[in-house]
């Protein structure tokens, strides 16, 4: 390594990058110093947590919407870096960047690798009915999310968790785990566990749980999982809200609840529309509690019932 203390960089954004920077800056300066920060500028961030923190700390940082470009590589190269942490970084790390820190690049992933690699791990975990989830700190290698694992932490998924709530839980768990593993990483005593490729589960950006379409002839539990898996409220949804169709018009669902575990009609049939939107599914009557119109705007359920002329006995259609 290049000096008595370790020179560390961060590439990332959001609250998690900020909290990890806080931990690094609070660490014994004879152990490490945060000397390079690249704020991932490829995605909008509501409050720009990380950049604000860097500004307030008068830290040396750059914002980059292409972390592999010459300017960013030169900035990082000049830091004589031992390690780089990639935290909530949405850009692929290419070979030239990977070669810069002598101790490697360490990435945070919000899934229990080798399961749930790739994108939207939290949505897929909920959709698949997992009751546990996990977060992973791992080395970046030439593949995607397949480098050696340094540490993992597993936890329960709450039965009513939405995708966003699980993302937030992953971030909090990931920050706690970072605090635990940082000392061992800095002295080179961390573990490295090779990922078992036979257990790999990977999702691409083009994949969407349930194709984003609600099948009202299915059972309540699977419909509820799909709706929660695609609920990022109040933030904009990266995957699109799950949709249904009735009376020739499309609607999007943010939340359902079990009304009655009974059969009162044919699966897919609308049952009650006075001020509640109830639909018979395979094993129960469900109520659509939060809904969006065809434009994706959240509207009161009653307003949508009136606007769409929804009547009892109508059948939901497949879009």
């Amino acid at each position: 390594m290049s000096s008595a203390f370790k020179k560390v960089g961060i590439i990332g954004n959001g609250r998690m990058a900020k909290e990890c920077a806080v931990l690094l800056n609070a660490f014994d300066p004879s152990g490490c110093k945060l000397v390079r920060v690249v704020v991932d500028g490829s995605k909008n961030n509501i409050s720009a947590d990380f950049e604000k923190y860097c500004q307030n700390m008068a830290s040396d940082y750059i914002v980059s919407d292409n972390i592999n470009n010459d300017e960013t590589l030169a900035y990082l190269n000049s830091g004589d870096l031992d390690f780089v942490f990639s935290i909530n970084n949405h850009q692929i790390i290419r070979d030239a960047l990977l070669a810069i820190p002598v101790g490697g690049i360490i990435n945070f992933h919000n899934g229990p690798l080798p399961r749930y690699g790739g994108l939207n791990a939290c949505s897929w975990a909920i959709y698949n009915g997992e009751i546990h989830h996990g977060v992973t700190w791992h080395y970046v290698s030439q593949g995607v999310d397949n480098g050696d694992i340094i540490a993992q932490r597993c936890f329960d998924i709450e039965p009513d968790s939405t995708a966003l709530k699980l993302v937030m839980k992953c971030i909090n768990e990931g920050i706690g785990l970072f605090k635990e593993i940082l000392p061992s990483i800095l002295v080179g005593e961390n573990v490295r566990i090779e990922q078992d490729p036979t257990k790999r589960l990977f999702y691409y950006s083009r994949q969407i749980p349930g194709e984003g379409v609600i099948d009202f002839s299915g059972d309540y539990a699977s419909i509820d999982r799909l709706v929660r898996a695609l609920n990022y409220n109040p933030l904009a949804n990266p995957l699109g809200n799950p949709c249904g169709m009735v009376n020739g018009k499309v609607f999007y669902v943010d939340k359902v609840r079990l009304a009655r575990p009974v059969l009162e009609g044919i699966p897919g049939q609308v049952l009650c529309t006075k001020d509640r939107f109830e639909i018979q599914v395979r094993d129960a009557v469900i109520e659509i509690v939060e809904i969006r119109d065809e434009m994706g705007m959240r509207v009161p359920v009653k307003r949508l019932i009136d606007k769409y002329d929804i009547m009892p006995g109508m059948k939901t259609e497949k879009r």
Partner: protein
């Protein structure tokens, strides 16, 4: 903009931030007083308190810079 809306928003934020001092003009984002997690929590509280729906495209820094900005955004949602 009604004063009691401002007061209600201030109460919500104070409860979230362990009673830290805040007023209508306190810079909430530029200072790092609120971070992204706080905003997510705050929006849920605003929706419940004021019976409004805050669309994702309204969750932008311009609407959360100060309590007055938040109140204006809430008022706009009440009118839609």
């Amino acid at each position: 903009m009604k004063d009691f809306d401002l007061d209600k928003i201030i109460v919500i934020i104070k409860e979230m931030k362990n009673d830290q001092s805040v007023n209508g003009q306190t810079p909430l984002l530029d200072s790092g007083f609120l971070d992204s997690f706080d905003i997510i929590t705050l929006v849920s509280q605003l929706e419940e308190t004021f019976q409004v729906m805050v669309p994702g495209d309204e969750i932008i820094p311009e609407n959360f810079n100060t309590v007055e900005d938040i109140a204006a955004m809430v008022q706009k949602q009440k009118e839609t």
